[in-house]
Symmetry: C2
Subunit: 410 residues, 2 copies
């Protein structure tokens, strides 16, 4: 019998009423004659309450005990969903992370999955039960409860699917799939029927919040298909898989953007005092995510380095740089706020060097200043003023004719 792992996020489980809706949906899914694992996150209001409780006691809780605290969230949802499935005529069992065999390392708050022991879930399959698993959590070798950090629930789902040799992972979401651009802001955006892991990774990394890159990376590693689909509408979603042959001819697959970017620049008097690697080590140690990095030289001898961070991490980044100024040896630091990042993505780009040039030309014609540039094999990102972000996304979506190629006009 085929196995499918499905995942529902916090907003889809925010109330008991919504949990009952999910219960009915998964009973119907299992009715198609499959083994079904349902991975759930914490109900959104519960997660907030748990963090609030801890914050009332301290701003630096121990990560180990914080994980024991946070893990109660998804345990609560999985128990409630199992109860709801039973109430509506299905057979179900709820399992917390350790019961589902999710073994992790000891990095509390951001643990990595080492392996999944599928024995217990297989037994519940034999009983015809829908197995509801608390996502985002596991157990360490020393029998401590761990949580998986950002993207943890989706990563749980992919890891379970791999261990159970599942057919695919269905990620139920508030949107109907992956779009060529944000349909809220780019009028001609269309839903993709398929997308490759690499392209999806770029979409995820570039601010599309639907699926965390960590889960996509794991799926890519084991070639596990993921479908992003709507929890509300019964329409086809977007299949994420290894190769997307049918659409290889499409140069640019989509446009992504991310707002509230800040550019930080730090400069050194000379190469002797510059320790560029150390800057990023210090930032990484303080969990500040740096995105685009550009290095330049002023006056032929004064090296500067610019990088982008998100607005929410700005204050912390400044604090870290200030307190490390002496050891890092830089002579000045400044910043620019009110920026955004716009990216074009497509795996065919690698073999087509003209894509970036065409992107810059179009932005030039639209009088949109490009502040920073970053490229990879399958994407080009530019940093532009925040107020130009949506306009730039629309222009690029049109420039590369994305919508037209994806869905023929009907």
């Amino acid at each position: 019998m085929q196995t499918v792992v499905v995942k529902f996020g916090g907003p889809m489980l925010a109330t008991t009423e919504k949990i009952v809706q999910v219960a009915k949906k998964v009973i119907k899914e299992q009715g198609r004659g499959i083994n079904l694992v349902v991975v759930v996150s914490s109900m959104t209001p519960i997660r907030q309450n748990l963090r609030q409780f801890a914050a009332e006691i301290t701003h630096e809780p121990s990560k180990r005990d914080m994980d024991a605290l946070i893990a109660t969230g998804a345990q609560l949802t999985s128990a409630l969903l199992a109860i709801a499935i039973q109430e509506h005529g299905g057979k179900a069992v709820s399992l917390v992370g350790w019961q589902a065999g999710i073994q992790t390392n000891e990095k509390y708050g951001n643990a990595r999955i080492d392996f999944v022991d599928n024995k217990r879930i297989e037994k519940h399959f034999e009983l015809g039960e829908i197995v509801v698993v608390s996502g985002f959590q596991g157990i360490t070798e020393t029998d401590n409860i761990s949580t998986l950090g950002k993207g943890g629930s989706e990563t749980s789902a992919v890891a379970l699917a791999v261990a159970l040799n599942a057919e695919r992972v269905d990620i139920y979401s508030s949107v109907e799939g992956i779009y060529t651009a944000d349909p809220q802001r780019v009028e001609s955006a269309t839903k993709l029927s398929e997308i490759s892991y690499d392209e999806m990774l770029e979409f995820s990394n570039l601010g599309t919040k639907i699926l965390h890159p960590r889960a996509v990376e794991l799926a890519k590693k084991y070639n596990m298909p993921i479908v992003v689909r709507s929890a509300k509408e019964d329409v086809e979603g977007t299949l994420i898989k290894g190769d997307v042959d049918m659409e290889k001819n499409l140069l640019v697959r989509g446009v992504a953007y991310e707002s509230d970017i800040i550019r930080l620049t730090i400069g050194y008097d000379s190469y002797e005092t510059a320790s560029l690697a150390e800057v990023f080590s210090v930032l990484a140690e303080n969990d500040i995510n740096v995105d685009i990095i550009v290095q330049a030289v002023i006056d032929g001898i004064k090296p500067t380095i610019s990088f982008t961070i998100s607005k929410v991490e700005f204050a912390e980044a400044l604090r870290v740089l200030e307190s490390s100024k002496l050891s890092l040896g830089f002579s000045f630091a400044d910043f620019e706020v009110g920026l955004a990042k716009v990216s074009i993505i497509g795996s065919a780009m690698a073999s087509n060097p003209g894509v970036a040039a065409r992107m810059f030309a179009r932005l030039g014609r639209e009088h949109i200043p490009v502040k920073m540039v970053s490229t990879s094999e399958i994407k080009v990102s530019v940093v532009v003023p925040q107020e130009d972000m949506v306009y730039a996304a629309n222009a690029l979506h049109e420039e590369f004719n994305i919508a037209m190629k994806e869905v023929p006009a009907s």
Copy 2:
């Protein structure tokens, strides 16, 4: 090093502010140079929320998944308390039931502890950590989460104390100890410095809510001393132990009462149709607790049986009896509401047959009608009209001169 297990109930952990108070208290306790285990219940509002969630989905949740749900409550408290202890300078680790080695049978919702594996807690002691354990829960042989039912947190504490060969269990409570009678209603009530397990069992069974009889029974079995003490005031509590030699001369140790009692009577036409044992089997199967039972014969041939139940179980008891009327074969049933039970307790009573007579005589002089009587080796209970309950308790407290004997006038 001596080991002490302490237990805090839900009302003492109802807010993060209260949790911080408990944290400071246990840090001080451990500072006396002991190994310390702290058993905690669910924060009172959380427990209510959890049950409410399930009730919104169904009125008959599966007990197994309900246990997974309810267990999150104490897990949350134990994690928060460990975090609070660390924040205030102590070393602590939180453990859920299975991590603390509490193995139970599979009777979900009302599981019994089979044994406690103390290995992990001993390891944390070696690290100098205060071990905060989620009470009320354990793990079954098949690795399912179970909860212990009524009195579960106190029972966890006693079981852990036995397994760790602890010096004693401290039950922190909203009261300062066990009183000769309810100090709110009996003016001359005084705190007992010591009380025997058997006497405490009677107090617990007779409506004193401080300590569940199940925990007392376990403590009695292993001769584990329990101290009931105030969470607020640093005053001596009441020590519950095997023998209370010093006060053996005291005939009656205390007066207890319980309000909102209902008497149910069912009658049969003849002995042939009567199946008295079956009545109580049916009630027990439906989890209805029957207290005092009195059997009588009317007209020489018609047997009747009267028993008391608490008001909250009245509707359910009627429903059960009604639906089993045919199979039970009784001819009529009636009931009397507005009753209360008043009891005198004392282990010296066994060797003094005049105590009950003196109790009835005094109640007679006070014109308090006695509706039912029940006696044991160490207590006599009478059922009286609810409105006479407090007056009867005061009269009996005076009659047996309890306050005078316990604490000499100073």
